[in-house]
Structures are given as C-alpha cells and as structure tokens.
Amino acid sequence: MKEIASMHHVTFSYDTEEEGSSLIQNKALDDVSFTLYEGQWLAIVGHNGSGKSTLAKLLIGLMFPSSGEVNLFLESLSEENLWEMRSRMGIVFQNPDNQFVGSTVQDDVAFALENNGVPHEMMVKRVYEALEQVKMTDYVNHEPHHLSGGQKQRVAIAGALALRPELLILDEATSMLDPQGREEVIEIVKKLRAEIGLTVVSITHDLEEVLLADRVLVMNEGKVLMTGTPQEIFKQETELESIGLDLPFALRISELLRAAGVELQGNHMTEEELVNELWTFHFSK
C-alpha cells in the first residue's frame, strides 16, 4: 500500500499573547503520529478544541509543526514543496459561505485550476467533469446565495476534485448543514470513494459518518487517544464516553438493554447487527 500522508511525533502550540506572564503554552497538538495509506478513509473525532482542525491545518501546510515531521506523498512537507503538495490535495472547511470564492458555481470550481495555471480548454473540461461528479451540472451559472448549504459544500468538493487530488480532507464539512445537506455530502463522498478510490480524511462529530470510515483517530486534548477500525474504537465505550463522545445508536441501545438485564452476545455497531441478534437469540427461540 502506498503511503499518502503521515505525521511523526508532531507537536504544535499557538503563540498566544497572554496578559501577565502566564507562560503556560497550551499544546494544541502533542506528539501526534499516524500514517494514512492510499484509498483509506480516515475519520478523526474528538470534542471541540481537541486539536482536529490544527491537525488538518498542519497537513495542508498552513502551519508547520513546532517539532516532528509531516510527510505527504512520501516527501517531507516544507515551504519548498508546499504549493506542489497543495495541488495534489483538496480540503473543504466547515462554513459553506466562507470558502466560496467565485461569483458563480463554475467560477468557483475553476478557481484552483486558475491558480495552477491550467490552460483554458482543459480547465473547461475539468470543471464540467468535477461538477458532474458532485451532480451539480444544472447549477453552473448559479450564484452562491441561491444555493443551499449542502449544494455549496458539494461545489467546494468539486473545486477540490477539479485538480484531481490524491487526498481529500473534510474539516467538519457537514456540521453546519441540515440533515438533507449532510446526506447529500456524505453520499457524494461515498460515491467518490467507490468510483475513483479517493483517499479521504474526514473530521466529524457525526457517528454515522465515522462508521463509514476504515480507520478512526480519536483526539483528546491534543493527543491521539486511540486509533483503529470503528469496531475496535467503539469497543472502548467507557473511555469514549469519559471524553464526551457519543456512541452509535445500536451500541447505545445494546448498553441500555444490558443494563435492563437482557443478555447480548456481542457489540453491535449497526442496527442490522442488533436486530439480527435480537431475532436469533431472543425472539425466534
């Protein structure tokens, strides 16, 4: 498997000018390491302020670590190769309004291509392809304030796709959307994974989104608390709850059932699993 990105013992603190002389520097990231391979979907979870966005910013070189190393596409990220690296990945942020640069949908999708000096003809082709991938071709000439939040985020994804990135980062891209918008965006990401095998890092609070990932990284106070498949992660129920994270619905119900004295065989991530168990062991007996 080809490595796409990795962090090695990365530590980062924001320079804060505290009044007085309290020199307590809060580490936004503390000794973070992980590796991401081609085609993987990595979900990063953690409560507000646990360092998730900081991690994303270091990955795209908006900031550089105080110590440790960030590797992208097997090269160490530095100011020399920054722009080249950026042209190989895309990121979508939380607020749909504050990342829409162009005056219409197609202008916005073309923005990154323009910056990278892509010739006009190829640009037109790529813009339409990208819009097709997010199913927004009917909206090419729409202005942003006539789009819903979900549509704006899909345009943002198209803007990233137009560059044919190898890595897509979503920093809470669905958290300001209504359920329908969230659904739309998740559907698109799922589709992209299936069709072009895109590598995805998604920072999210949405557990159903986490369940779609191959691997999960749990952040707490700047540190990587644990990492593993969703199944492995959600086994650590008590630990997750102690840092204020939710559990998937089926898991919560299993717990409640156990508390009520119903004996269950295993841990169930999805509703289907739980229904099956209930059927086989309790109702069809």
Binding site: S148, R252, I253, L256, A260, E271, L278, F283
Partner: protein
C-alpha cells in the same frame, strides 16, 4: 399565555417583482406552559413563523394572538416592545449577536433595554453565568475571547436575562459537538420545568423533538399540516414521509423489530431509554410464553 395563529399568511418583499410567499393559512395553537417542537423540511417556513411570535414580522394576512395581545399587519411600536419583553428568541448561531466589551455588559443589554434596573440586571447576569455552567471569571472578559461553546452560552444568557415567559429556540445547538448539544438541550429542558416557561423549539432532529417536547407542530411548504403530541405525530410515518420528514431512530428501530416479530409494542418508544425498556419487556413476554 396561549399562543394562536389564525389563518396567518406572510409574503416576503410584498408588492415587488420579487414577492415570495413563505406562509399560507397557518392555523395552530401553542398552549401556555407547553414545550412545542416545530419540525419541517428546509424552507418550509419554520423560521418565518418564529419571527411572528414577537412582531419581528407582522402577518400579511390573519392574526397572531399571544395571550391577550393581537398582532396583525397593523400593529405597531409600543405594543411590540411589550411583546418582545415577554417572548425571548434564541436565534440560530446566537453568538453572532454578541457585541459588548464584556460578557457581563452583553448579558445586561436586553434587560436594560426593557427597563430593568441596572443592579438587578447585573445580578441576573451573575446568576445566569452560574446557571449555564460558565466560570465566574468570564463576566469581565470580552465575549470575543471565548471558545465557540462558551460564546453560545453567553448569547443564550443574554436572552434569558430579561426573563421572557415564552422562550423560542431556532436550532439552538447547530454546530456544537455532541456533548455541548446534549448539555444545552438538557439546560433548556430544566429551565422549562423550573421557570414555568412556554418553550418553542425549531429543530431538524426528530430525536430531540421526541425526547423533549410534549407537542409537535409540522410545517410543510408554508402551511401547518399536523399538530399534536409526539406519540401521535410519530405514529404517522407515511404522512411524515410525504412531508419529507422522518421518525426518531428509536421509533424506526422499534418498527423494524415489530415487523420482525409480527407484534406491536405497548407504546411508541420516543427515546432510547423507552426503546430499551419496551424491548426488554417484549423479550420477557416472549420468554414466558411457551412455544
């Protein structure tokens, strides 16, 4: 104070080429002391309806009745201010309304506008900071130096501070993490009980609507289409689907199991706790019955 909408209609940009109808023939009642959730698809007119509750919008057609006060397209000035004192609205992303130098001053802004004496307003600010679980020392900080979750709480305090008897919430937890969301919802629930509030919640979360409210109002394309207690509303899955709405996960799960065992539970499981209880009851019953 009961609230009622009688054939309320509203048009944005009335009499211009851009006229847009947002509400049509809305008739509904919100009893005093109830916790009512308003649900509906995006663009169904929920926010527009809320703005009628304190005269920020006046109905183009029909009448909004709040206690003894009638609001029609003709109502003006003084009366509206009175209504605004009694009806507090927490808007979506309320932290965007913060502006004062200190948190204390910002919380006091509302009460002072409504003629509450300074000393009392200050006491309320201190009290609310405690109630909302914020550290005491935020009072003298600038609201812009706080974290997102803290800002949200301060903004909510700014509305609670003038002690409205009707509290209106437009998606108050949008953008918070799960823990923050839960804490805020629990807080409103507590306030509803202890302060005898009439609470009106606009939400996209069927789970929250089912868990916290005792009444539900469904909006669809500008009209009120269903009204009743959550037990009744969430029974009607088909109907809700036609309004592009779903049912709470627990009810969804309940239906799955019910279909599987070919038998209905005693009641609708509005929360996860209720679901677990119903399930265990059903399992027990199953066990008792000889095969």
């Amino acid at each position: 104070m009961d609230i009622s909408f009688q054939q309320v209609g509203y048009l944005y940009a009335k009499d211009s080429p851009f006229e847009k109808r947002a509400l049509q023939n809305v008739t509904a009642t919100i009893p005093s002391g109830s916790y009512t959730s308003i649900i509906g698809h995006t663009g169904s007119g929920k926010s527009t309806l809320l703005l009628h509750l304190n005269g920020l919008l006046k109905p183009s057609e029909g009448v909004v009745k709040i206690g003894d006060t009638l609001i029609t397209s003709q109502t003006k000035g003084k009366q509206l201010k009175d209504i605004r004192h009694r009806v507090g609205i927490v808007f979506q992303f309320p932290e965007h309304q913060l502006f004062e130098e200190t948190v204390e001053k910002d919380i006091m802004f509302g009460p002072l506008n409504f003629g509450v004496p300074k000393e009392i307003a200050r006491d309320r600010a201190h009290e609310l900071v405690r109630l909302l679980g914020l550290p005491e020392d935020v009072l003298q900080k600038s609201p812009f130096e706080l974290s997102g979750g803290q800002m949200r709480r301060v903004a909510i305090a700014g509305v609670l501070a003038f002690k409205p008897s009707i509290l209106v919430l437009d998606e108050p937890t949008a953008g918070l993490d799960p823990r923050g969301r839960k804490e805020i919802m629990e807080l409103f629930h507590r306030l509803h009980e202890t302060e005898n509030l009439t609470t009106i919640l606009v939400t996209h979360s069927m789970e929250d609507a089912a868990r916290y409210s005792d009444r539900i109002l469904v909006m669809h394309e500008g009209t009120s289409v269903m009204e009743g207690p959550p037990e009744e509303i969430f029974e009607q899955e088909e109907q809700l689907h036609s309004y592009r709405l779903g049912i709470p996960r627990s009810v969804h799960f309940q239906r799955k199991v019910e279909n599987m065992i070919g038998q209905r539970f005693g009641r609708i499981a509005l929360t996860e706790e209720m679901l677990a209880q119903e399930l265990s009851v059903a399992i027990e019953r199953k066990g008792e019955r000889p095969c």
